[in-house]
């Protein structure tokens, strides 16, 4: 299954993130996870939201520079070695990870790990062959995250 991440180009200026969250809040779009990568004067904000297509539309309308990117949301066991199994597999297969971040699902003792790779479809196949479950947007929408881990 393929999930989507919303990436927003942002200058490092006060109020940038507040603007973003207010637009999404007004539209009742839920944020599941966020990461920010910065390069001194600018950065990229990555969001996992419950309705990425609509988020793309409303953020674009609000004048933001947005890119919808396919990512893999991998369900892993929230226990020591859970993430390692995933990472070892990707490493052995020579898959380059552009970005990765996760959040824990406390209720189910599981965690969702979002990986942004160059060959999404090939990696998805590989993961499923190796017993990993990947979530799509719909599945991501129906789970309740508790806190983010990076």
């Amino acid at each position: 299954m393929i999930a989507y991440q919303i990436s927003i180009f942002a200058e490092n200026k006060p109020g940038k993130i507040a603007h973003l969250t207010s637009v999404l809040g007004k539209e009742k779009i839920n944020i599941r996870a966020t990461t920010i990568s910065t390069a001194d004067t600018f950065g990229v904000i990555n969001l996992i939201v419950d309705d990425p297509k609509r988020a793309e539309t409303v953020l674009t309308q609000a004048g933001l520079t947005v890119h919808l990117r396919s990512v893999l949301a991998v369900l892993i066991d929230d226990k020591p070695g859970g993430l390692d199994n995933l990472m070892q597999l990707l490493y052995q297969e020579g898959i380059n990870i552009n970005n990765a971040y996760g959040f824990v699902l406390e209720s189910s003792k599981k965690a969702v790990f979002v990986v942004d790779v160059d060959q999404t479809e090939k990696t998805e196949k590989l993961l499923e062959e190796n017993g990993f479950q990947t979530l799509d947007t719909q599945a991501l929408s129906s789970i309740e995250p508790t806190h983010n881990v990076k």
């Binding site: 990436s7 180009f9 200058e11 990568s37 890119h67 990117r69 552009n98």
Partner: protein, 432 residues
Amino acid sequence: MYWEKNVETIDRKKLEELQLAQLKDTIKRTEKSYYYGKLFQEKNISANSIKSLEDIQKFPFTTKDDLREHWPYGFIAVPKDELVRMHSSSGTTGRATVVFHTASDIAIWSNLLARCMFMTGMRKSDVFQNMMTYGLFTGGLGFHYGAEKIGALVIPAGAGNSKRQIQLMMDFETTVVHVIPSYALHLSTVFTELKIDPRKDTKVKIAFLGAEPHTEKMRRKIEEIYGYKAFNSYGLSEMNGPGVAFECPQQNGMHIWEDSFLVEIIDPKTLAPVADGEEGELVMTSLQKEGMPLLRYRTKDLTRIIPGICPCGRTHRRIERIKGRSDDMLILKGVNIFPMQIEKKLMEIADVGTNFLIILDRADFNDSMTVKVEVNKKYFAGDIKQLEILRKKITEELKGELLITPKVDLVEPDSIPKGEGKAVRVIDNRKD
């Protein structure tokens, strides 16, 4: 004290007679060039059109664009064999204008610079440290030849390398320097770092400030830091280079050498001449050049003629320090930059828009340029690494074009205000 008393203090009437004869000769010489030959035929003008100095107004202006369009040899007025030197106004490929000199041009130019330097008090016994870029830029070699003509000991230090500059100054007891004003300020911080007091620990008594317009306040500040007299220098490669106009010991305006240049000040909008004392654009006709003589060249530099007679006894009129430009050229660290150069480079890079903003800053006596560039929405792929690579690419491209390294900031699309008509592309925060 004069280098050439009879020329420098020449009676105005005699000077004008001399200019008239020189102007006719110059027009005869320019006629041999491809550009002027064709132009004179089209307009049916020639040296015979000149009966008085005012008749120069029958001739069209020459602009930098004309020079570019007829690059490289369209303005050469002698057989190519006669040329001994070329210089370029800036080192870039696309926007460069080239100028050529014969052996006689070099000799006359060197003499003009000797006249300038001698006027400020420099003598054969002096040690002259030339802290200017050598090479295509006229500032380095021009002063070098002039100082040798006086007979001074010349240290061809070149630009930059601050610690070595100070070392040379101390080791060889430099008495005269030629320096870009912003660099003089920067160098003072290195003196402080090394705990050397330039006022006490060096023997420099005269500085020539060139290649960059600066304010009176900045000059006084430099004089105060170093404890020397600083003299303003004006020139442009199209009129040889430095040595066109120079301050005398009065430090009140620059004598423009009217035995070598015919001076007009025009209103840059109406192109009509303005009266002495009124501000306008400086337009010059070379009166002695052979290799590449130019008629009514629009310098785009804004200044005015200072009315009245200078107490130093020189009869050549004085121009005020340059107030600005009638075009959008910027000068940073002595390098000439046109915003168009940046626009052209950005247009070649698909990932960015062509809306940009140039910000010039001065901090700790160091000038810098920031170029804000809008990221193109279509090319944003949510990848920070891609943006970093893009920024590096733009920096490299601009560095190659401008010969100085700007700081490049990537900004959001449509975040730079678009000006009405001609966009405001430059914010100059440089203060004294």
